[in-house]
Symmetry: C2
Subunit: 338 residues, 2 copies
DNA sequence: CTGAAAGCGCTTACAG
DNA sequence: CTGAAAGCGCTTACAG
């Protein structure tokens, strides 16, 4: 980039304020920085008035330099443009901005240590006040780079190798629970589960959550879990299979919204009433699936990824940080399918 | 926030490098900043070696302060969390980061001038090197705030009130053109158009693009444009109507993917082969509609919003900026529906 | 309660 | 070709 040196924006500086207020630079600084040092009320007022009159705004660059803090948080992302990472990143930068922190975002192949080392060096040189590592969910373990930094490091939507790290992850177990609880509350007792491949951690957790909630209500699955893919096609196929099996079912908890839409489609076509005969719940609150021109068509569980980003950002900026894995609670969003 | 003053990270500084290299601070600085000033090759090497040996990394805070540049770009968003703005923002922050620029993001109600004034003041105080205003597309005119800043201001996905501003917008006209051209190239001659309400600017532009391309090929619309809503339901309804009208049609250009999916559904159900009998093209490349578990089901036009964000970011960082409205070319993505 | 002075770590005219 | 010195605009011990 090599941004050209810009003629310095000759604005009002603190020394101008001090001069107008008739006090010293240090006194002016103390008043405006809101220090607790005792300064006469009269002086305080004079300085504040001068500052207001001159429309003084402290040069953030000088402040940063003097204080050794950058008001910038590093963000290391792994495939930031991908489906689920985007909302996390948006949450991160918005929350940082709301607290006047800039975000320095490096999108790297976190697993390729080579490049990441260079990014780490650059982030350190930038004197970042904290770092947020944004991963891509449960499926990959991110290497822990916490020890590379003197500043707080928080992992968002990333599972770190180290249990000592501050990690924010969506609560997939809870997602399974609240979906199931909702169905039970609606009087459903014969609940089936259609989901993606059983090797995915999120699949396992959502299923466990469902089972826990069923057990708590003294219920069992209406049919064995059907594992497949995250697709609408699979949702449709699995639903066909379920109907064909003849097992009575009054609700289907689907691993995501795509499957739920596939299920909805099949049921409608077969003349099964939704939700009267069979209720459906999906997961993701995936706009474009779940909403059609402002009209919601599915009950779903929102994993609150943007909020997750916000929480991680808040954490890295805060003094009291809590070590370990933080599970971000998902939200049930009730639509016409349940 | 009031970040606590951190004990300064006592790292290696330039004066250390100078001492080890046996040269003055200024000489060391000149060598490492890559100045063009003539300095003996021998000295250059000595300094570089010392820097490498000590693992010297210039303190970015001090550099910023000395140079009067923050390496931070302000980003003023309007409803950043909304559907289409998210990708633009992601593009912006990734492109900035790739060029070592931090993003200071303020999400405000741009139309409410009150708050925005405060944001402008803060951004100025932060000595941002440039500003990107991210809007929500064609439908609202953003007030021009360019004159409030001494630094470059670029509008991304926002129509500014001032024609002097640098504005990046998706090219909806071109979207209509490439969709239509594609259908024509596939031998279609009886092309119909289903879209949202005619008051939306993007609707108008896409339709005009289609008409221009039809005209260029000596064709006319197979049927009058059907205006409705951005929904799958409308796509289905309009398609039913089209079929019922009895007008022969061999392609439908849909205003977005939702409508296209609705159309696809109806045609399939009616036993109409897609694309053999009727081809379909949507717009948005909206994941979750267009792709089902990695399998594409629709031909569509990607409006390249993330790229738009990247281009705007590149623009604001660059020396040669081009005034006026920049149209970002959309991309045709061919799927099985055409 | 107030102020003079040092310091944060660079860059860059300017003099040699 | 090299270096001493001033300067960027704040904050904060420290002395009064």
């Amino acid at each position: 980039m090599a941004a050209p040196r810009r003629p310095r924006q000759r604005g009002v500086k603190l020394s101008d304020v001090a001069a107008v207020a008739g006090v010293s630079l240090s006194t002016a600084s103390k008043v405006l920085s809101g220090t607790t040092e005792r300064i006469s009320e009269e002086t305080r007022i004079r300085v504040r008035e001068a500052a207001a009159r001159l429309d003084f705004r402290p040069n953030a660059l000088a402040q940063s330099f003097a204080l050794g803090r950058s008001d910038t948080i590093g963000v290391l992302t792994y495939r930031a443009a991908s489906t689920f990472t985007g909302p996390v990143l948006v949450g991160v930068v918005l929350e940082l901005g709301a607290n006047r922190q800039a975000a320095l975002v490096y999108d790297e192949d976190i697993l390729g240590r080579r490049q990441i080392t260079e990014s780490i060096r650059r982030l350190q040189a930038r004197q970042i006040d904290g770092l947020i590592v944004v991963g891509d969910g449960h499926e990959h373990l991110s290497p822990s780079i916490t020890h590379e930094f003197q500043v707080p490091v928080t992992y968002a939507f990333a599972a770190s190798e180290s249990p000592e790290d501050v990690v924010f992850l969506p609560d997939n177990f809870e997602a399974g629970r609240i979906a199931t609880r909702h169905l039970i509350e609606r009087g459903r007792t014969r609940i089936a589960h259609i989901t993606a491949d059983s090797t995915a951690i999120s699949v396992q957790l959502r299923e466990k959550g469902m089972l826990a909630e069923l057990a708590a209500a003294g219920l069992q699955q209406a049919a064995p879990t059907r594992y497949g893919a995250w697709s609408q096609a699979w949702g449709a196929e699995a639903t066909e299979g379920l109907l064909a099996s003849g097992v009575p079912v009054d609700a289907i908890f689907c691993g995501n919204d795509h499957m739920a839409l596939g299920a909805l489609d099949v049921l409608r076509r077969r003349g099964v009433r939704v939700p009267e005969d069979i209720a459906i719940v999906g997961v993701d609150n995936w706009e474009g699936i779940v909403i059609d021109q402002g009209i919601r068509r599915l009950t779903t569980v929102d994993m609150e990824l943007q909020k997750l980003g916000r929480l991680a950002a808040r954490d890295v900026m805060s003094g009291e940080r809590s070590v370990g894995e933080q599970r971000v609670a998902p939200t049930l969003i009730v639509g016409p399918s349940s």
